[in-house]
């Protein structure tokens, strides 16, 4: 008992440089087991030969070559990026006025508004997507409404294509855009707007010279976030995209679970991951430019 009691302080002292890191061990463990190891396994798998239904021995670049030479896969990569960009753009256009309105709403309505904004996230994904199938279908609510109004004669193809995927994704990812924009808009002092106003700026001028540049970090963060989410989503393209509205993620899903071509699926997943990493690096770069422009204060 006694020797231990004496030795204890020395032990604590010696380990002290590492002590602050000790509480991080569980997180580190989780990161290694659930992220690093699977990632390494995926990269490894993507360079392995495969037959139609199984992983065969031997190393090969075949899957990457296939992805970038197959017309189908190339088209789907472009289509994925297109769906992502379009969804990001639409959420930005819808989300900016919404976020601006939310930020300046009276505290009484803010809670309710926030609930409405994040409502799409509170509904089960499959239920929500079925809902869109019903609304957007050939005899769905929207087409019937437009027909009754006499605006169309033939039903519009709103679902099981590119359009359906963009509509579905815009719905789910709008809250992320609005929340990113809100946090940036929230940080602009009311008096800065007033300063512009009293110096003679019209509402429009004020928007372009003050609101937009000062909310740049939120715009960048929101766009990157929504774009990344669109690239990873596969339920929406599977359910609303039909055969023409496929994306990289939905293709990975099919290669994995339908064709059982795991090496090709992982190769495709790695391509997707590289796209997202590239986009995140772009964000870091863009935001760095912003904060240094403000002298590090913002």
């Amino acid at each position: 008992m006694q020797p231990n009691a004496v030795a204890a302080p020395t032990t604590v002292k010696r380990s002290s440089p590492w002590a602050p890191w000790l509480p991080l061990l569980p997180a580190l463990f989780a990161l290694i087991v659930f992220f690093v190891i699977p990632l390494v396994a995926m990269v490894r798998l993507s360079f392995q030969e495969s037959t139609n239904v199984a992983v065969a021995g031997g190393w090969s670049l075949r899957h990457y070559v296939y992805i970038f030479t197959s017309d189908l896969y190339r088209e789907i990569i472009w289509k994925s990026l297109g769906i992502g960009l379009l969804t990001t753009f639409i959420t930005l256009i819808i989300g900016f006025p919404l976020a601006n309105y939310y930020v300046h709403a009276s505290p009484r309505y803010k809670g309710l508004m926030l609930f409405i904004i994040i409502a799409p996230l509170l509904i089960n994904m499959v239920v929500r997507t079925y809902g869109w199938q019903i609304i957007l279908g050939r005899t769905g609510f929207l087409n019937e409404l437009l027909r009754l109004l006499g605006w169309i004669n033939e039903p519009l193809a709103l679902v099981y294509n590119f359009t359906g995927v963009v509509i579905g994704m815009t719905h789910v990812f709008l809250p992320f855009m609005v929340l990113s924009l809100s946090s940036a808009l929230q940080s602009i002092d009311r008096r800065i707007y007033e300063g512009a106003e009293i110096l003679g700026a019209t509402d429009w001028q004020r928007f372009w010279t003050i609101t937009l540049p000062l909310s740049r970090p939120g715009i960048i963060a929101g766009c990157i976030l929504v774009f990344s989410l669109t690239q990873g989503a596969f339920v929406t393209p599977l359910m609303l995209g039909g055969t023409v509205g496929r994306t990289i993620a939905s293709l990975v899903h099919i290669d994995t679970l339908v064709r059982f071509n795991w090496p090709r699926a992982t190769a495709m997943a790695n391509v997707l991951m590289l796209i997202i990493v590239a986009v995140l690096l772009l964000q870091v770069r863009l935001l760095k430019g912003h904060s240094s422009a403000l002298g590090g204060s913002a």
Partner: protein, 392 residues
């Protein structure tokens, strides 16, 4: 730039009322500001001074009343069409723009030709002595420099009235005193009419041509700094500006050209009728204000002397104070002294429990300590009968 000191009225506020819920932030304020002068709106926080300023700027729409600039009713005009400038409390500079871009902002929004813009920006920056910092961002400037940018940004537009909302509030005391002098210099050079909101009475006295003391949404008193200090109209003004004691005096006699008041229940002074405000003419008890520098203090019992005996009474009317005026004499006990650098400010409890403040210069031969029995010689010329203020 324009604007000449004179009798022309630059700004007029007529009966402005603004309520927030049940609170009347501004409760019927009217005032005029002559061209080329500085008016301070002075008062504690919540007195309505900022709401009034924002009403003049156009950020607040009044429930009643109107705002006139150069005789033109601007009550329904948006801020950008009022031709007023504003310096905000925390400057509200555009953080993503350089000094030059901040100052040129208003001119650019009005699509002023680039040549003229450049000339006027240079001129404004020279006026506030910021040449050479054109390409800095606000975050790279000190508080005082940011303040100057805010000033230049407003002045470059040649506003008819410049509104300043506690512009020096965020600066430390030294810089603040320095900027006050500079602000006044800039005002003199440009001749711009200024309305200056502050809660710092010293600043208001130092800077203004006129001061409006606000309390609970109303003007307690409007006058020159000297009038406000020497002839406070109410207990509120007396207490808010400088140090003052408020004693309640009983009216003991009322004649044609005099009124006799009994102070602290022990000494009677006569006040000429012209010094009695109308509201006090019929009153039986009136608040009287005395500045601490208008009182002298004598030790009643020199140190080591005997304690006062009951019934020890002396006539006070024979005393004369330094100004040659007859003095009213009241007795009391020193409560505490506060060191103020050049003087001690003593708080003395009088016989009727009221408090009197007395200023004694540090070089005075006689300094006092807690518990000293004293006689206070009040210069009757410095007595002011005032109105009792409402407290909200």
């Amino acid at each position: 730039m324009h604007g000449v000191r004179g009798d022309a009225v630059s700004l007029e506020v007529r009966g402005v009322v603004k309520s927030y819920g049940s609170l009347r932030a501004v409760d019927g304020i009217s005032l005029t500001v002559r061209a080329g002068t500085i008016l301070s709106l002075l008062g504690p926080s919540g007195c309505g001074k900022t709401t009034l300023l924002r009403t003049i700027a156009g950020f607040v729409t009044p429930d009643a009343g109107s705002v006139l600039i150069d005789g033109r009713d601007v009550t329904s005009l948006p801020p950008r069409l009022r031709n007023v400038g504003m310096v905000f409390q925390h400057y509200a500079l555009f953080p993503h723009m350089t000094v030059e871009q901040n100052v040129s902002y208003g001119l650019r929004m009005k699509r002023t030709p680039p040549e003229e813009t450049r000339r006027r920006v240079t001129e404004a920056l020279r006026l506030v002595r910021l040449e050479g910092l054109e390409n800095r961002l606000p975050a790279q400037l000190s508080g005082g420099q940011q303040q100057r940018v805010a000033l230049a940004r407003a002045l470059v537009m040649n506003p008819r009235v410049l509104l300043l909302d506690e512009p020096l509030g965020a600066l430390d005391l030294n810089l603040r005193r320095y900027m006050q002098v500079e602000l006044k210099q800039i005002q003199r050079q440009t001749g711009v009419t200024m309305v200056y909101v502050t809660h710092d009475q010293e600043e208001a006295l130092a800077l203004s041509d006129e001061v409006a003391v606000l309390n609970a949404g109303r003007i307690e008193q409007l006058g020159t700094p000297q009038e406000i200090y020497q002839y406070p109209a109410s207990t509120f003004v007396a207490n808010f500006i400088g140090h003052a004691s408020v004693l309640w005096a009983d009216v003991v006699a009322r004649g044609g050209d005099e009124m006799a008041l009994r102070l602290a229940g022990e000494c009677t002074v006569t006040v000429p009728a012209r010094a009695v405000p109308d509201f006090a003419k019929g009153a039986s008890r009136v608040p009287v204000v005395i500045r601490p520098e208008r009182v002298q203090m004598l030790r009643l019992h020199p140190r080591g002397g005997s304690m006062p005996r009951a019934g020890d009474d002396r006539p006070g009317s024979s005393y004369v104070v330094g100004s040659g005026q007859p003095a009213a004499v009241v007795r009391g006990r020193v409560q505490e002294g506060t060191y103020q650098g050049d003087a001690y400010l003593y708080r003395v409890a009088l016989m009727d429990e009221s408090q009197l403040q007395v200023r004694v210069p540090v070089n005075s031969p006689d300094l006092f300590s807690h518990g000293d029995e004293v006689e206070c010689l009040i210069d009757t010329d410095g007595l002011r009968i005032v109105r009792e203020s409402e407290v909200r």
